[in-house]
């Protein structure tokens, strides 16, 4: 039996790649989308050799929002599942000093991802089926001095996904928001992350596959993050503003 096809946006990212392997290993055909897509040719052959599923490559730039509609039209078939792993982190102080860096962070974590999800959502709605998965971040749950540019963009994306889920719920389309917490990827390379709170990309990938299958709404990859973020959200503002976390 042929399974539903899966579109992966930002297929070069560590999480994107892990997600591609996870779904392909479950027998889904995958469409890999990223910039300079020809550099993923080896991954395409790898995934199709390992799991004997069809794999296709598609040039995609999250920031070129005006191309998103034609990007979707050009796909060999409208996917049943679309997973957006697009994201960019810049050091907070850089985004404070350099408006270019700030804009890049906002556009890469909010505008671009929201736009492509919206584009796909409209078509899924017409078809009356599909699952959209947005990878957001726990950083979006409360702004902190050390990371609020990235965090606020992710907060926007989280709110967007929540609204989209609300709108699509009656249309046969499901929306999953993934809040991975720390993940060991190139984005976090060199950071000193606490091992108990840090997931591997493959863990995120299997969490996503489970969430899609079980039609979850908002998932934390490691359950401990639900507790941590509950506490962080509960701290009264007059105390929070004096803290450095």
């Amino acid at each position: 039996m042929i399974k539903e096809s899966v579109l992966i946006l930002a297929a070069r990212s560590d999480i994107g790649k892990a997600v591609a392997h996870e779904f392909a290993s479950l027998g889904h055909p995958v469409q890999l989308a990223a910039r300079n897509i020809e550099t993923l040719e080896v991954d395409m052959s790898d995934i199709s050799l390992r799991y004997s599923v069809p794999v296709t490559l598609h040039e995609f730039d999250a920031l070129e929002t005006e191309t998103h509609a034609s990007f979707v039209d050009a796909l060999p078939e409208l996917p049943e599942i679309a997973i957006c792993a697009v994201g960019l982190m810049e050091p907070q102080d850089r985004t404070q000093e350099d408006i270019g860096a700030f804009t890049r962070v906002m556009r890469s974590n909010f505008e671009g991802p929201a736009n492509i999800m919206a584009e796909l959502a409209n078509r899924f709605e017409t078809r009356g089926s599909g699952t959209l998965v947005g990878i957001s971040s726990v950083a979006g749950e409360r702004g902190r001095a050390s990371n609020y540019s990235y965090g606020s963009a992710k907060a926007g994306f989280t709110a967007f996904l929540s609204g989209l889920r609300n709108r699509m719920a009656k249309r046969g389309v499901h929306v999953v928001t993934v809040l991975p917490g720390f993940v060991e990827t190139r984005m976090t390379e060199g950071m000193d992350l606490p091992a108990r709170l840090t997931a591997q990309p493959s863990e995120v990938a299997s969490g996503i596959a489970r969430a899609v299958e079980k039609k979850r709404n908002v998932v934390y990859i490691r359950p401990i993050w639900r507790v941590i973020m509950f506490i962080i959200r509960s701290i009264p503002e007059f105390i929070f503003k004096k803290m450095s976390i």
């Binding site: 080896v42 991954d43 052959s45 790898d46 050799l49 390992r50 799991y51 004997s52």
Partner: protein, 417 residues
Amino acid sequence: MSTIVRSEPNLIARGSGRAYGDSAINPSATVETRHLNRMIRFDPSSGQLVAEAGVQLGDIISAFLPHGWFPLVTPGTRFVSLGGAIAADVHGKNHHNDGSFRNCVDWIDLMRQDGTIKRCSLDEDAELFDYTLGGMGLTGVIVRAAIRLRPVETAWIRQTTISTDNLANCMQVIEGAQNATYSVAWIDCLGQAANLGRALVMLGEHAEVSDLPLDMKAAPLQIKPKKMRSVPVYLPALTLNRYSLSAFNSLYYWIGSRKRGDRIVDWKSYFYPLDSIAGWNKIYGRKGFVQFQCVLPLESSESGLTALLAEIASAGTGSFLSVLKRFGKQSGAFSFPMEGYTLALDFPVNAKVFALLDRLDRITIEHGGRFYLAKDSRMRSETLHASDERIGDFQTMRESREFTAHFRSAQSERLEL
């Protein structure tokens, strides 16, 4: 990676870290190849697979066994990388027929000290090709390789177990089974006197569809996934002593001999019994264990093995796993196997074991044998140099190509390679 290779004064490549000693460690720079793990091309007409060096043998089996392909040669764990299998030129239970891993390698892409990649094969820089297969990473970093897989009809092995009472009997059985595709003997290495070298000889053939019981014929290449067992904690050192080891060995022998005769077993249990027990090494307690593996030339195999086993039996420190295999012809400029018998042992680390190993080294050399670098962690440089007359050529080749300064491991420094 090429930047690292170019800029580090000296380094060594690391695959999956399954070598037992310090072959894949360099304190100044160790190049991780785990992320070079993509399969590139497969040609079903020849069975040739092109893949990056960090791909594990187990991944190749998962991808291709369902289509009827299996590695031509595999070591006792599937968690080795392609690069590691090539660099150690690993052998399997079929060396007597199929030779070592090199026999399935069509070409390799090797990164040299200037960061450029060179393709080597029997036709292109045959010398470098020859020395890299078995060269323990000391000739460069393998980044890609083309290997040939063997076609199989099923994922099952037809295993025949024969129990033997002593070494002579065991060797006789192995010699008589030269036509078997796979053969290996598990020795009860605490058996003494008349029982010295008693063993279970296990022969194996890739089963054909017609060998399978009816219910398995429908999907001959599928096996039901088995649950991983695991050793949860380090067993206290107390549980390992000559009595428990002796009990273990006798029990193993006894259980095995009750399974005498023919059975159909799945490929994992035949080739990789240890892989199904995650963290099996914890059996040895926190201090861990050391491996010893030598090969003895055919003429002196029986006397050499007798001397080795007698030494071990009298030391009483024992070994959980004592594996005896028959090697076929020697091939390759620096590869470990030579025609004869190879004995692999592992010993829990304790006060007496290093002295015992030194005595085993001496016995090996006295019988014209040599040692497997992938299993070594403690040998002395003199021992290695006394055991292998090919070392000089290997060093000359390394020096002439200016590898000596560049590709080094903790092991190569210890052994002055």
